[in-house]
């Protein structure tokens, strides 16, 4: 008799937890049903804005080959390409769009998302004059880019150059990818 009631009790514990989990899962599903399309729409809009910022007129998604592993998507048009890259910065990936014209010159860069340190690396993506100056110096560069500490022409945002190097790495990956496209 005792063993049976223990078994029943354990069953009751499991069932209670199962019901709570089930109800909460249903609630989450309902919320997700409403928010998922809005979130997807916002992300698509953000990507479109980033493409427009670096490649006037935008472009269509095209096939590409990538040796570096940092390129995620390439958009192409008659005037050039917008390459989405995600190099690793100080604290995770820096997702950014690099615009490149048909001759392999950088048209501009736009940082979509990042988790760099506020006030230091985050300046790279900021809407301030310092951020715009940093991003502006890539315009017109070609071949491969590097910070001045590594013998290149790019003025880094901070002495540690971690974010600046990551941005350069992303741009180089984009340039190499476009060069392979021909």
């Amino acid at each position: 008799m005792k063993t049976q009631s223990t078994a029943l009790y354990i069953l009751r514990l499991a069932l209670t937890l199962l019901i709570i989990t089930g109800v909460m899962a249903a609630l989450l599903a309902a919320v997700n049903l409403v928010t998922a399309p809005i979130i997807a729409g916002l992300q698509a809009e953000k990507t479109q804005q980033a493409i427009q910022a670096v490649l006037p007129g935008g472009g269509e998604e095209i096939a590409f080959t990538d040796k570096t592993g940092t390129v995620s998507t390439v958009y192409g048009s008659d005037t050039g390409y917008a390459v989405e890259v995600a190099p690793i910065g100080f604290d995770g990936a820096i997702t950014m769009m690099v615009g490149i014209d048909k001759d392999g010159n950088v048209l501009g860069i736009s940082i979509i998302s990042h988790t760099e340190t506020a006030g230091l690396g985050a300046v790279a993506a900021a809407k301030t004059s310092a951020g715009e100056n940093f991003r502006g110096q890539f315009v017109g560069l070609n071949g491969s880019v590097a910070v001045s500490k590594d013998g290149g022409t790019v003025e880094a945002i901070t002495g540690a150059t971690i974010t600046s190097r990551a941005v350069c790495e992303g741009i180089n990956a984009a340039l190499a990818c476009v060069a392979d496209l021909g």
């Binding site: 009751r12 514990l13 209670t16 937890l17 709570i20 989990t21 909460m24 899962a25 609630l27 989450l28 919320v31 997700n32 409403v34 928010t35 998922a36 809005i38 979130i39 916002l42 998302s113 988790t115 340190t117 506020a118 006030g119 230091l120």
Partner: protein, 213 residues
């Protein structure tokens, strides 16, 4: 139920951050601008009220052996709901708080109130407790944010006022960047707690002296 007592407990004598020292991870990490502080405070308040109400309503149904597991499921669900709603409707806030919204799941204030209050009290009292503790948390965050933002970035109201840039009080170049970095978080928290202790002790002593007269 005593609303006034619960309110003063949440805000002062049992303030979740400054007295109970709960949820310090988020307090140290996100208090870099007023926008973050208010956003995080309100998110936690909403989650606290929802989880307190549901846990209180189910307190006689959930067997004590599995209560922690049940509480975590309930809290995690509300946190995910808030996370999704923020991503969909306030993307700026969601981006600036980042991983700290999902991390509210393991914020000990929420589980602490479930265990210490909601599992022993009625639904209405638990809702009020969630609100009061949430306000206490928000006030602590806002104090931290104002100090760190002023000293670290030299602005007030970053993310909200003046197109999100904040009102500049200290000219650019002078603020101490360290104050918005982790080290500034620890320093500010220490001073805020010390100041708060001084204030509560001071007012208690005053009351005792008056009573002695």
């Amino acid at each position: 139920m005593n609303f006034k007592k619960q309110f003063s407990e949440g805000l002062l004598s049992k303030n979740p951050v400054l007295v109970q020292l709960l949820g310090l991870c988020s307090v140290l990490a996100i208090t870099t601008s007023l926008f973050n502080g208010i956003g995080m405070g309100l998110s936690v308040t909403v989650i606290l009220i929802c989880s307190n109400v549901l846990i209180s309503a189910l307190r006689k149904v959930i067997p004590s052996q599995i209560r922690i597991a049940a509480y975590i499921v309930i809290i995690a669900s509300f946190v995910t709901i808030v996370d999704l709603v923020l991503q969909a409707f306030i993307p700026d806030l969601s981006e600036s708080l980042g991983v700290f919204i999902p991390l509210i799941v393991v914020n000990c204030i929420v589980l602490g109130r479930a265990e210490a209050f909601a599992s022993k009290n009625g639904v209405l009292a638990s809702a009020v407790d969630g609100l009061c503790q949430g306000i206490g948390y928000t006030v602590a965050l806002v104090i931290m944010c104002v100090i760190r933002e002023l000293l670290g970035s030299g602005t007030f109201g970053g993310g909200i006022l003046n197109n999100g840039e904040g009102i500049r009080i200290i000219p650019e170049g002078y603020p101490a960047m360290q104050m918005v970095m982790p080290v500034g978080g620890f320093l500010t928290l220490g001073f805020v707690i010390a100041g708060f202790q001084w204030y509560t002790r001071h007012s208690r002593n005053k009351k005792q002296k008056e009573a002695a007269k």
